[in-house]
Symmetry: C2
Subunit: 372 residues, 2 copies
């Protein structure tokens, strides 16, 4: 009876939309890669199809109020075509392009006056040499499209070392000396309403998010306000709809520099499930349906999330008896994915008022799920 | 990959198990009455079958670690038979009988020394006359089996008025002069661990739960402790596994008298979804799987839940734009059920520290969903 939301992608992000969708009687139909994947296990309506298959995309939007995404890997031309056919695509193809193409992203952020690391588009080893010699080595080299979780990113110490990617066309950026990494999360409706969550601190290991602390512990109120303002500037400047995650560096000299954007629920926002009035998954559904947004305040002083990355256990749920006995306060989220080294299999969130204790518990619980 | 829990029933209680099951990678398979009902809409594995069909019950338990319930209407003999065949039935048939048969319930509670309203089994108009003349009229008359939400309960002012039910065999009880109604909720594992939630106050209108306030506002610490002790006595005395809800009268002279039992997640426990570390639905799954129980403390000073009972709207989700605009703090839960007068279509929970305000907001939000 409720509205129908079509989602591209069948991973954990689509999976975690199922719970708030069930509560709100919103029907989520996910276009999934495989019929036994993370989302298909929990969604009765999960047709199999490729994200770049025009017919599959058209089919999944039939009868849906809106098409949205759990990843950015849908060709721009396809999305623009669906919009031309009258499908409500949210975020829209123009906004999504900034999340798909890192060079385009740097260009529009720079136009919006958003602080970024110094950057250049390089199309040859000479371009890379010029950039690195100007700003200093090493340089961060990124493939413009398709990267995630540290994939498509390298640090190179000379133009020669990055010659292959530079020749294909790449984004070069200064390496930033940061004291912490932050993520500012918000949701925005087509009609313009914006709601931000508390800015969080994220810790990456090997380019993959390992831990999130909410709120960011070393950020003064000024900094949190500045992070939220930057995220809002981006959301409005790019006409983003749905959840927007803005990953930032907090530099040693106190500046905030935007690193990456995601226009969908994001790993840095998983704490919102157990710690805030409205989770990022509920808010994303509300936002793309242009429904008024829910309150976002955190119900507890601190929330800590730790990712479960790979496992020595063939079935991480086998850790439940020990984990639940030792840590009855832990909120465990497993995504139903088969175990592969380093794969994001789930996360654990713990909330309370003793931050060092929460960090230990969340890490220890994740360790048990990882079979350590 | 995770454990499989078979659930009898396809209503809102099975539906609300889906969210925590998804988080914990527990596979819930529900035996549902219809393939488009509340639970079937959100569970990919929801075979259709009757709760009194032995073959359907056997089939739904295949490959499952445990069989549990969202209602009590499964014949005792069938459950005993499944247990004899080695199926883990939780709660077990002996415990469940006390939730199925109100006369049996009164008998075992009295044996356990649990305070109840004065009661008698009546099998004739003469039995009823004798009971009423002894304790005073009017008398509450209950059909021993099959009642719920005020169905199967009458107040009679004379033996003649209750002659029909008395002749069929009924439970007669004194009418209790109460200041409030309470519900004590707990979960218990087969291995004996018990976790209680805060005792709540419930308000019934026409025998149907209308509002729940957590914690119960007019109950001193002593009373809350006593309510929890009574619930624990029942859980241990009857060897209950899973969630147990004990509905009680808080009399004007300060006594607690047990009214009804439910051995499953219960309407009085819906506040736990949005207000406590571990919801009754997650805890029920953990308990019947004999996994260690989660923490149950409430994260907020007050939580208020109001049921949505019937609607003037054909589709209550049409109230979302106004409701979400006015009450961004409201947590809306709709069960995907078609609208019928008085039908439990959903509930709204609001949390915070200003109880009168929360009650107004929860009621006003439910009113909007009811089309008022």
């Amino acid at each position: 009876m409720g509205p129908v939301v079509a989602v591209v992608g069948g991973g954990q992000l689509a999976r975690m939309m199922a719970a708030p969708a069930g509560a709100l009687d919103i029907h989520v139909r996910a276009l999934v890669e495989a019929d036994d994947g993370a989302a298909a296990q929990v969604l009765p309506d999960a047709p199999v199809g490729a994200a770049d298959d025009e017919e599959a995309l058209t089919r999944v939007t039939r009868g849906a109020q809106v098409l949205t995404f759990e990843h950015e890997h849908v060709p721009y031309a396809l999305l623009a075509g669906l919009e031309a056919d009258g499908v409500a695509v949210r975020p829209g193809s123009r906004a999504l392009r900034a999340a798909q193409d890192k060079i385009h992203m740097r260009r529009v952020l720079t136009e919006l006056g958003v602080p970024c690391p110094r950057w250049a588009e390089v199309n040859s080893v000479a371009d890379l040499a010029a950039f690195g010699d100007e700003i200093g080595w090493p340089v961060v080299l990124k493939r413009p499209v398709g990267g995630y979780d540290g994939k498509g990113v390298r640090i190179v110490h000379s133009a020669q070392e990055g010659a292959d990617w530079a020749a294909e066309g790449a984004l070069a950026e200064e390496t930033v000396d940061f004291r912490s990494e932050l993520a500012a999360l918000l949701a925005r409706r087509p009609s313009g309403q914006v709601q931000t969550w508390t800015t969080v601190q994220t810790t990456q290991v090997g380019g993959v998010c390992s831990e999130v602390i909410s709120p960011a512990p070393d950020l003064e109120d000024d900094g949190a306000g500045e992070a939220a303002r930057i995220a809002r500037t981006i959301a409005e400047g790019l006409d983003v709809t749905g959840v927007l995650a803005v990953e930032m560096f907090h530099t040693r000299d106190g500046r905030l520099l935007v690193n990456e954007l995601a226009m969908r629920p994001h790993n840095s926002g998983h704490v919102t499930i157990d710690a805030t009035v409205t989770s990022q998954f509920e808010q994303h559904l509300r936002a793309v349906l242009d429904l008024p947004l829910g309150r976002t305040e955190q119900l507890v002083p601190w929330a800590v999330m730790v990712n479960v990355l790979g496992s020595q256990l063939a079935d991480p749920t086998k850790a439940y008896p020990e984990l639940m006995e030792r840590y009855p306060e832990a909120k465990v989220h497993l995504y139903g994915k088969s175990v592969r080294p380093g794969r994001k299999l789930g996360h654990v969130t713990v909330t309370g008022d003793d931050l060092p204790h929460l960090r230990r518990v969340a890490r220890a619980a994740a360790d048990l799920l990882e079979g350590r």
